[in-house]
Symmetry: C3
Subunit: 237 residues, 3 copies
């Protein structure tokens, strides 16, 4: 939660976190977009997640699903599948998570992917078609699809994997971008991934390890100009 | 929670966090001050909060309320109002939260303030008088009142708003200061705000963005000498 | 949780966090080792902790107990004692926690130790003998015992105490090391403590305070070579 909120603030967004059934719907009412991340699951949070998703759909607001660790346990896979049926605008996961979500027989090792993004492209396209959503698959090169088109976002550095919750954080940035371009969720998601990856590239220049990379990532999310993003973003068909 | 604990440790305090009904009262017994932050609310935590507040009052220990996001949802506003009736020593919030807490009709956008500190001064003074507490209102210039006197604390940098939980963290420092000067909660709260803001100013000198500002803030909370604080603190009537 | 996960990633491990009764056993099934940390206790988490411990024993996987704040409240002490009976491979705590766990009459001030490691050595050896586990006691010099032998690990810097959850994080590294050397838990635990302490020593060279020390710690956990560890680790009988 810590880095997700910091990433959103550094990206210029205004995050608020809530999970109580008593107030999630009200928070959805004042938000521009909703992010549902199943990270540290528990039964009492699941009710809040479902209410938030339903309210977002009801209000016509975009919502983004991060199926963290989908495939790692049957419970987690089942919750993710139930959330998928609630019509997310975008699903962002790594290849293992997307494969598990598509019902492909696949074993996930915790929250890290054991498969390459390309291996999950077919599964991602299938989810996108069936559920009418955008699916973003993180990897060395990220893939984003609406079920027919595929955009590739090729920014980032491998050492991001040594920082916890960078996957969750990039999903939060996807939600922020989609809230600003609700009519173009495919392009918004792809550019969100590139923006995050580019900030990591810029931060990596001065980084000695994952501690200083995290600092540099946050600094560059904040300081990056539109011009830097346009020049540095590697988004292509 | 992460930055709050780090801020307290860097400030020389000794934090412990608990929320279970089964042990909060015992923790209050060994603490010098209690901080209740309603950040990520849930029903099972609210019981712990109320028990902690009551125990602090019973033992004559100062307790500080941070009404995070008060006004954002009816549930949150109601919980904050109930906690306020349990006699906090200090309430620290932004202008939107203080206005909502005072019952002024006011809409909060999540945890960020949409109003200036001065707009909430009257509401803050009213809370202070009615509930016999100190009210601290964060803003470009912080205002601290006991219902009659008003102190202003003018340290800080705008980029603090790009770091999550800095509001929560400064409230934690207020609790630490008030625990050391329980007879002067007005002055203690004002100087806590200036100490935190000054550490941010010193840290900002080397900061490239919110990532490095957070590092510099923690470094300077720890290294700041009493002399530096006396020279740099901008607390005045 | 944030720094624990980052420390494990920087150390080359692959952490996943779970606490729901519905899935902890499945997570234990895919993990190489289990860490149970009682930090922010609540009743619904305790069930998950016990299930995880039992499953680890059943599957013959090492599990490590961090009795955070044991002795601070009766509830906490009782939960820690119950977990100890579930046969951890290693227990890692500070002197106050180990003394409280051994039933010695002792008052803990929150999560910071008020006793030196040597004062708890006898209590630690007693726990190790009774429960057939390794006990690691953190202090200026760390002590690790299997009930008969005692290893000393003498790396680290005092300023680590100004960073939250460094105790919890070093326990996580102990779990990672023990998972790789399950037949030598005594040596694995001692070297885990030295590896962590040495990374802090290397990071302290450039650190201005606890903010930059945390960055340097994570950087050096990642970049440290085997040669650096062999030369710098101060583990001895």
């Amino acid at each position: 939660m810590d880095i997700m909120a910091n990433v959103l603030l550094a990206a210029g967004a205004s995050p608020a976190m809530a999970h109580s059934i008593a107030e999630v719907e009200d928070f959805v009412g004042i938000a521009s977009a909703v992010l549902i991340n199943v990270g540290t699951l528990s039964d009492d949070w699941v009710g809040g997640m479902k209410l938030a998703a339903k309210k977002a759909v009801e209000l016509g607001k975009p919502w983004v699903l991060d199926p963290v660790g989908c495939g790692a346990t049957p419970y987690r896979t089942q919750i993710c599948a139930a959330l998928l049926r609630l019509k997310p605008t975008v699903v962002r996961g790594n290849a293992s998570e997307i494969l598990a979500l598509a019902g492909a027989s696949h074993t996930t090792k915790g929250v890290d992917s054991t498969a390459a993004a390309t291996e999950a492209l077919e599964a991602g396209m299938q989810i996108a078609q069936e559920h009418g959503c955008i699916v973003a698959i993180s990897g060395a090169e990220d893939l984003v699809t609406d079920g027919s088109r595929v955009l590739r976002a090729a920014n980032g550095v491998p050492m991001l994997q040594q920082i916890t919750a960078t996957g969750c954080s990039v999903t939060a940035v996807v939600a922020a971008f989609v809230s600003q371009f609700p009519q173009q969720p495919l392009e918004a998601a792809a550019h969100a991934l590139s923006y995050f990856g580019l900030a990591a590239e810029l931060g990596a220049a001065d980084a000695k390890g994952p501690g200083s990379l995290r600092v540099g990532l946050l600094d560059n999310l904040w300081t990056m100009s539109e011009q830097q993003l346009l020049v540095g973003a590697k988004v292509h068909d």
